[in-house]
Symmetry: C4
Subunit: 229 residues, 4 copies
């Protein structure tokens, strides 16, 4: 458990460190989402074999609801992720002029919708690429997860800032990018979206946990239904 | 079948949602194709093990002609893809000022040629990376498919908008980006290109369905022809 | 053999089509290399299981020198690649105002050096990721090859245009991007670089053809030298 | 050993060649990190099966501390990496007007922190994706490593230039991009970060060398703890 929590802390630290550095002026401009997706991909591929590489309380909630994490892990991961995010904002404060940041003023309804939809997409992708039997042993899970965040950042970053992650949202508040009074929008939208994606995933048995489903190769069209391997 | 259709609906929904958000002002500018390719890659890796992850009626037509989908699946997938695209345009309407969109005026001949060629490339890539025996179990299929769309968007996006997908074209019409009177260009070019790619794929047996062909390793040059594994 | 040649023709066609479309005004600007690398990656992953996915006479020469292609394949592939490139330039002529292209004036010495170095890198990467025993069955070969071209285009595109491929160079001449009088620079530099990379690869046995070498896992550091699997 | 050193020399040569070409005016502008990450990814996938593809003295130090390289390899790799970097700067001098470069003036404390943090991230990612049992046989290690560098370049490139690699730092000094008097910052920060990442990796047994740990599939959540494969 200790090493899982350290891996979650390290990954969330570098995610929020990169976000702060590339978003606050002078940052990476229009390429900021690529830098954010890049470090997320790297940390997912690095830490997946130890902790599952969540780095996101909404993902941990969904993995718990999908019965691949215990209640103790849910609490521990949330703590490690928030500590990692907070430590990262301290480093950003030492490297950037955080006092000069102009905070976003996210419109409540639109920001909630934007955060809900792309967090749903993110968690739906995570559960499918990292916990479904039909995708065991793949080398693409980090790419798929990271590029969901890249796409979401370009699609709705202008509305909500594009957190899709309560730990990131807390980091954005600590850096003055999101006003504290708007934090509840992110916490609610992200956690609800994570739960909704997990419930859909479980209801449709997208993890293929039930033994009667067709083989993954049949489903991907690599083999006509019913033909032996 | 139900879960396949929901996976097709979800994937096409997020594809068209991202397209609308990054194309309509203020959008992602010159990086819009990367966001579109990113969400397509993510949804392909997420849904491939359930539905094959088509998200495109031209792909479903080709998979049907390649005898890896039934006629019932062809109809169901088309319906789910169009419903997903239409739902996405409703969300975009709530987040963007769609009334201010200046529609494209695609030149018929050039737009037909552009859509035909890159949809052909797209379907040719899909059939090879996702349904050929020589590529079973790979982790790159989503990358290959998504970057065909990225390349096509940069190459001919200025001519046709770069749909390469009838469900996307319907979404572009619903958002006022493409005039309704031009929709037939996309439907015809995309479906003809999908059929043409499938017929070439079948005629050349690129799926290696016939047992007499050389092994994939010989063909990739990993082993001299005829040498045992 | 027929289907190998058609796959080479199709891949080189879409590579040169994309190059012409994104380089000639209005093109993809600073993102042109990403579009070119994207379509190359897609065509490599699509065609690798059939033809080896060379799409480049310098690569075919190197694969021949590495004894993974016959002399008949060398000639056939070169023909298919050049025909594919020429057909693509005809399509670009119908979609772009080729008459308005301002040709490059590549400086002989610097262009030769630039083309030699990055074609060497390209062929060195191809031979290692696609023909070495230590890399059998990987899902990254198209990524590695494509990003060598992306990097080379950014690194020396301002000097030589960044062909690294005689078929592409012929396409650039047919489109008026490179003057015909400079074609020899590309043909000589690219083919010499391909031969040099193959000779180095063979001399060092980078393909691990000799049975006495250590295992790939030992070499990658996954296992201490000499420890059993 | 000879071929390992040549592979290290070739990889570091092309890495530093690309850096010099895309950073010195006229370079690749805001896309320079993508070109640098691209060539690093390509060289890692190409050379990993021979030398482990370090191309970075801080990585070699960490692999030595993780007991996957001998002391002789440590010395040899460092020499090959520095020679490769120096040769690359000679080529850049022949292609670019190096005399016109305006050197960075990295602030000591901030540059040290920036170089330490992202070199730590880089080495942490390398050790996990390329030397841990839970990641054996993956096809993503080059992607993960390269995108750590891409993210770091966008995040702190404005502070330190973004070397994360003593051989690159030496190359930057030889090209006049970093003043010689600042070289010690890079050497110290990079090597200390490499050692720190290796010590953390060893202390937590992230390589899963001890036989009692849970299986990788359990850890990634692909299987409930204790359930048989």
């Amino acid at each position: 458990m200790t090493r899982k929590l350290i891996v979650e802390l390290v990954g969330t630290f570098f995610l929020v460190l990169t976000i702060g550095q590339v978003v606050i002026d002078p940052g990476a401009g229009t390429l900021a989402p690529l830098a954010i997706g890049g470090v997320l991909m790297a940390m997912i591929f690095a830490g997946g074999h130890i902790s599952g590489a969540h780095y996101n309380p909404a993902v941990t909630l969904a993995v718990f609801l999908r019965r691949r994490a215990t209640a103790a892990e849910l609490g521990g991961y949330w703590g490690a992720q928030i500590v990692g995010a907070a430590l990262a904002t301290a480093v950003v404060r030492s490297l950037k002029n955080v006092a000069a940041v102009t905070p976003l003023d996210p419109p409540t309804g639109a920001a909630f919708l934007a955060e809900f939809l792309f967090t749903f997409a993110l968690v739906y992708v995570v559960l499918n690429v990292a916990t479904a039997r039909g995708n065991e042993g793949n080398s693409h899970y980090g790419l798929a997860i990271a590029f969901t965040v890249v796409a979401g950042a370009y699609a709705v970053g202008g509305i909500s800032g594009g957190a899709f992650n309560p730990a990131v949202a807390i980091g954005l508040v600590l850096l003055g990018i999101v006003p504290g009074g708007s934090l509840w929008i992110y916490l609610a939208a992200n956690l609800l979206a994570g739960a909704a994606a997990a419930l859909l995933f479980n209801a449709l048995d997208l993890g293929d946990d039930k033994p009667t489903s067709a083989t993954a190769e049949e489903q991907r069209g690599l083999r006509p239904p019913g033909e032996p391997a």
